[in-house]
């Protein structure tokens, strides 16, 4: 439905996030267009997941604003942002453990995408199929291994019909074969014009999809631009080789 647009679909301005005395996000500005695929890298503890949570509305920033599709959503809870099309996955999977894989995804289709019963069935089955999970559709989510739980995060988020999908380390621990399946899946989402923000440690996977790369360190964006240029940036090299956050 959505056509490539030049104006920002998502904009975060002057985001600060403190947990007690700890400053986790320090004046982060981030803007992206609707049809972009943005990768985010950075050492552990850099604040990547926290940024994603602020964008998705899991908790509010200490200061700063988030806008989505031209409206200020800073005060909107995650439920409403999801319904607007801004959907995230969780780095540590959060399945609905007592429900089956299908039911997990069905919840997103019927509430996130707001679909009626039959459409929600179709959407849920479609996203399970895309993520290769039809075979475990009837398994209770608590019986799934970590790999399937991560897949489920993706399938569930997709069933909410996002216009912009925020992915948090869904590629960790994959074999080469699994990684290339994942890349294929994400490329399919790109064909469907879904915008992507993808936090990933495994850079070579990320670079197959991301057209733009951001590197975070110690709560700040230290580089932002074409992937190859960012990876070659001396600041980025120092952040990775220099032993992570200060």
């Amino acid at each position: 439905m959505t056509h490539p647009q030049q104006q920002a679909i998502l904009a975060a301005a002057a985001i600060h996030k403190r947990f007690g005395a700890l400053v986790v996000l320090d004046a982060v500005d981030f803007t992206m267009a609707a049809d972009e695929a943005v990768g985010i890298v950075g050492p552990n503890g850099a604040g990547k997941t926290t940024l994603l949570s602020v964008l998705a509305g899991a908790f509010p920033p200490s200061s700063g604003t988030v806008s989505f599709k031209g409206g200020d959503v800073t005060a909107l809870p995650a439920t409403q942002r999801c319904r607007l099309g801004l959907v995230r996955t969780h780095q540590v999977p959060k399945p609905f453990s007592g429900m089956t894989t299908f039911e997990n995804v069905f919840v997103a289709a019927s509430h996130g995408a707001g679909l009626g019963r039959d459409e929600a069935y179709e959407e849920a089955l479609g996203s399970l199929k895309l993520c290769g999970m039809l075979g475990v559709a009837n398994r209770r989510a608590e019986t799934l291994g970590l790999l399937d739980r991560k897949r489920l995060e993706l399938a569930r988020a997709l069933a909410a019909r996002p216009t912009l999908l925020l992915l948090d380390e869904i590629g960790g621990g994959l074999t080469d074969g699994e990684a290339s399946e994942l890349v294929d899946t994400i490329k399919e989402l790109r064909r469907r014009k879904i915008g992507i923000v993808w936090i990933e440690h495994i850079v070579h996977i990320l670079l197959q999809v991301a057209e733009r790369l951001i590197c975070m360190d110690a709560g700040k964006i230290i580089a932002d631009g074409a992937p190859q240029a960012v990876m070659a940036d001396p600041e980025v090299v120092r952040a990775y080789l220099g032993g992570g956050p200060k």
């Binding site: 999801c82 007592g98 089956t100 039911e103 919840v107 509430h111 069935y121 009837n138 909410a160």
Partner: protein
Amino acid sequence: MSAPATMPVIERGTATSRTAAMAVAVIIALLAIAPQFLSAGAVDRMTALFIYVILAAMWNALAGFGGLVSVGQQVFFGLGAYFAIRLADAGLNPFLALFASGFVVGVVSIPLSLFMLRLRNGEFAIGMWVIAALTHLLVNLDRLVQGETGTSLISLNVYDAGTRRATIYWLALASMTALLAILFGLLRGSTGAAIRAIRDNEDAAASVGVRVTGTKRLLFVLAAFGIGIAGALWLATSITFQPKTYFNVQWTAYMIFMVLVGGIGTFEGAILGALVFFLIETWFGGTGVWYLVGLGATAVVFSLFLPRGLWGTIEERFGLRLLPVGYRVRLAAASADDDATPQQTTKHQEKA
């Protein structure tokens, strides 16, 4: 259903569950005519059973499906009886007052939910108990109730004992049937899926578009309404209203017992648990303190050896689902319409 043969099909029921639905209808019809064949004492006992089923089903919906564990549900039981007294005193027909009271309890639970649902887990559980204790004190202040002396639903006495007994029986049966039907419809629909999602992970539920607070409120109010009706019906069977009997935490303890023994989080489990509790009470209720010891011991044995309760275990062991609220995906659109669907997935081992 409309899908082509290669598309997976979503199944809600099974051949067994369709039979079960018919069996349920037959059982309810038989129960409806039963008073003609039962002794007065048996009619009273059956009325109590219906009330237990309501209590168990409501607590199970709240805790087993919604994750809202409360140890203060006696507040709604007590208020159900209290408002019935009040409404009857104001001149309402006593039988009508029973149901009007349920609605009042539901309405009262709405403002209560505004702050109670902000509490999480243990805070919510204990908070509800505190609310029950406070409400008990407030009701004691009502001059009509005369403190712990209590009062009676006197206006029921204008009916002769036989009419009264049969009417209350039918009202309890009808209430139980209606409340179970409402609950089943709710839990089986997409709201039911949202309720279970909230139970399993509130943050994740919000992240996929579930309205967490509104959904919890709906469940909270429905449980208050149902338990309020149960309290009012109990009043009708015993006529006298002593606050400490109705606002007693024992009611919630019974609810928890029934749900844990029957199988928390399964629709059938709560009903089975109520039946088990009813039988234990019928056989051992006269043995005083040993009865309570026995109940406690049974609960401990179940939590140690059958944590999923009777029905949860049966369901797991035999794949039996009589009143299923969940969804099954059938991959090969084979014509066989059976329970086990062993051919459906490669890795389907849940019930192995």
